[in-house]
């Protein structure tokens, strides 16, 4: 019996019992849709988390910290205990030689020093304590920074500021202490948000680098000799550019001011002549080193699969290295369990649908006992009879799966519209492979449910057909 004839007979017997076929298919539709929508939610959540990781510096970046012999310093001087395995006697700091070393590691795309310091911005009554990050021009170019206005800072020369899009949100009125951004922030209506009346690009910005001295002078602090501390000098730093994005948008470096590392180094040396630069390591007697060490190094790897490898190599050099790989692995673990739980809920309804298919097929066999007997007497192969019933059950699965998928796309679209305020990129995500898997799965479930009835049909006695009644 040809495959074509077999499929045709299966379809015609499904067609013969339209209502029952439709009802059975309905079960499969609901089962498939629930399983697909549930998994799409899991995938959507995972995608949202991955996007978030991307915002927090991407999946291919490694941040290297100096190893200060038991403690490591972040920009502000916060001490965090290091890995116990690292050699605690000899501090390993990041200097130009170290950056050179990093850039020679295989798969490293960019290795840039990061010199960061806290500065105070002043314009009229508006003040802002912001983080200034000096990086190499090469790294700035490769960080996919979207420029709204102006350009990235020039290499060398005078110090220029490139403002992150969220820097404006941190300005507060130094007289009232109020921050218009936080006062007007409305999570649901981002268009009503207001920011400080500060012109970053065109109006001169006064910058205080020695913030400790500034605050001490503000609140009447004294030095060790009891003399009041004079207010530190203010510098006027021109802006070179502004990052694209609304103030409320979060992204890598959105809250930072970027500048060229060499220009920053020169500026800091000039300001803190003979004094310790805040955040810089000191020797045992508390005196600063001649050289300026970098707080961090920014490293970009060409492929996310090599991140762990590069990270290990940097750690082997004695540095502290962090990347989003651990976070990403955690997210993936988590999303796996979420998907399993959600998929399990969906699977229950598909299981019920499978029982429905089995029931329909059994009923069909009881009704068609005589017909099955007749075709057996007329010489229809046992395997052909089995295949005919399997094909019928498979068709129920296939049609149910296909319609269920269409329904899933509809439900997914509705969910995404409803959740669009929380998850801009959508919370329900149906990739192509899920479509294929759902179809194959529905057909397999249908055929599994039809297997027992099909075997039963195959073994029916042909005598039943010619028994006269």
């Amino acid at each position: 019996m040809s495959v074509q004839d077999l499929l045709k007979m299966s379809l015609s017997s499904l067609w013969r019992r339209k209502l029952r076929t439709v009802l059975t298919i309905l079960g499969v539709i609901i089962g498939t849709a629930s399983i697909v929508v549930m998994i799409s939610l899991g995938l959507g959540l995972k995608k949202a988390s991955m996007d978030q990781i991307e915002q927090y510096g991407g999946l291919t970046t490694i941040t290297v910290y100096a190893n200060e012999g038991g403690y490591m310093y972040y920009g502000g001087g916060v001490a965090v205990s290091s890995d116990s395995e690292s050699d605690s006697s000899e501090p390993v700091r990041i200097d130009d030689a170290a950056i050179e070393q990093f850039s020679k590691i295989e798969h490293v795309e960019v290795a840039s020093p990061v010199l960061s310091t806290w500065i105070l911005l002043k314009q009229g009554v508006w003040e802002n304590s912001a983080s200034l990050r000096g990086m190499s021009r090469e790294a700035l170019e490769k960080m996919d920074i979207k420029v709204a206005e102006g350009s990235l800072p020039e290499e060398g020369g005078e110090l220029q500021f490139f403002y992150g899009n969220a820097v404006i949100t941190e300005f507060y009125n130094s007289k009232t202490g109020e921050n218009p951004f936080y006062n007007s922030y409305d999570w649901e209506n981002p268009e009503t948000i207001q920011t400080a009346d500060v012109d970053l690009m065109n109006t001169p910005m006064f910058v205080i680098f020695d913030t400790d001295a500034y605050y001490n002078s503000q609140y009447g602090g004294t030095d060790e000799n009891g003399a009041p501390i004079p207010a530190p000098k203010k510098y006027m730093v021109p802006a070179c550019g502004l990052m694209a994005g609304s103030p409320a948008e979060w992204g890598e470096n959105a809250n930072s001011i970027l500048c060229d590392v060499e220009a920053l180094k020169a500026q800091l040396k000039k300001i803190f002549k003979g004094k310790a630069i805040p955040g810089q390591p000191t020797n045992k007697s508390g005196k600063p080193y001649k050289e300026i060490y970098y707080n961090q190094a920014y490293i970009r790897v060409d492929d996310m699969n090599y991140v762990t490898e590069v990270q290990d190599q940097i750690k082997a050099l004695g540095f502290q290295a962090e990347s989003n790989v651990e976070w990403m692995n955690q997210v993936q673990e988590q999303s796996k369990s979420i998907q399993a739980a959600l998929g399990g809920i969906g699977a229950v309804s598909l299981f019920v649908a499978a029982i429905g298919i089995a029931n329909t097929m059994m009923m069909s066999i009881y009704e068609r006992t005589k017909e099955i007997g007749v075709i057996k007497v007329l010489g229809c192969d046992m395997s052909a009879i089995r295949n005919m019933f399997l094909a019928e059950a498979g068709f129920i699965g296939l049609i149910g799966g296909a319609v269920g998928l269409m329904l899933s796309f509809g439900i997914s679209a509705v969910i995404n519209v409803v959740a669009s305020k929380t998850y801009a990129s959508g919370i329900s995500y149906i990739p192509a492979y899920l479509v294929m898997m759902a179809l194959v799965f529905a057909v397999i479930i249908g055929m599994l449910a039809g297997l027992f009835p099909a075997l039963r049909a195959m073994r029916l006695s042909p005598l039943a057909a010619i028994r006269n009644e």
Partner: protein, 241 residues
Amino acid sequence: MAQEREPVIQVKNLYKIYRVGQNKVRALNGVNLKIYKGEFCSIVGTSGSGKSTMLNMLAGLEKPTKGEIIVGGEHLERMNENQLVRFRREHVGFIFQSFNLLGTMNAKENVALPLTFRGVSKKVRMDKADKMLDLVGLPKHKTHRPNEMSGGQQQRVGVARALVVDPEIIFADEPTGNLDSNTSAEVMELMKKIVREQNQTLVMVTHDNHLASFADRIFHIIDGKIVKIEDNRKNGEVRTS
């Protein structure tokens, strides 16, 4: 002489014993018979005489308890179910008492059905079915569904379906049991005519002595034993086994 030809069906010492509770019922109790090519034979007997069991075994629908059934040189009692299905598909045509046409198919599709199981292409099997329906005298009912036809017409379709595969043997189980006497006679004449023209072998089971008399040879069966074989072609010759 008929005996000199090669028999199409040869049954040797055939027994079929059913267990009903504690009792053993001998449906067939040592049957021997030979049927030759081109013969129209009828097996006649009362209800419960074992005639239907006999036919089921000849067609490979039931397994014997003991004995041999050789059809076209093959031993049916040694075949498994798959082989029996193949045997029926390739060697046997079947005419049922209750017609057993598929209600979802029209006359032509019903006739073509056994060819479907042989894997014959649609065009070829429809052509053959067409010719067969002409042969049984239903040129105007080819696209009718079974429920749009009379009993006699339905059985003609049944006959066409049995003949379409060009089988070596045709089995008919009370083929006129559901028809009135006039229609019965018509169908019997049709079967007889076609068997003659096509040189087919037909084995028919009936309880009706009159219908049985259409056949060339008549096997009388009582309590699982063949008690008498009549030969219509040589009038008056009667043998007892």
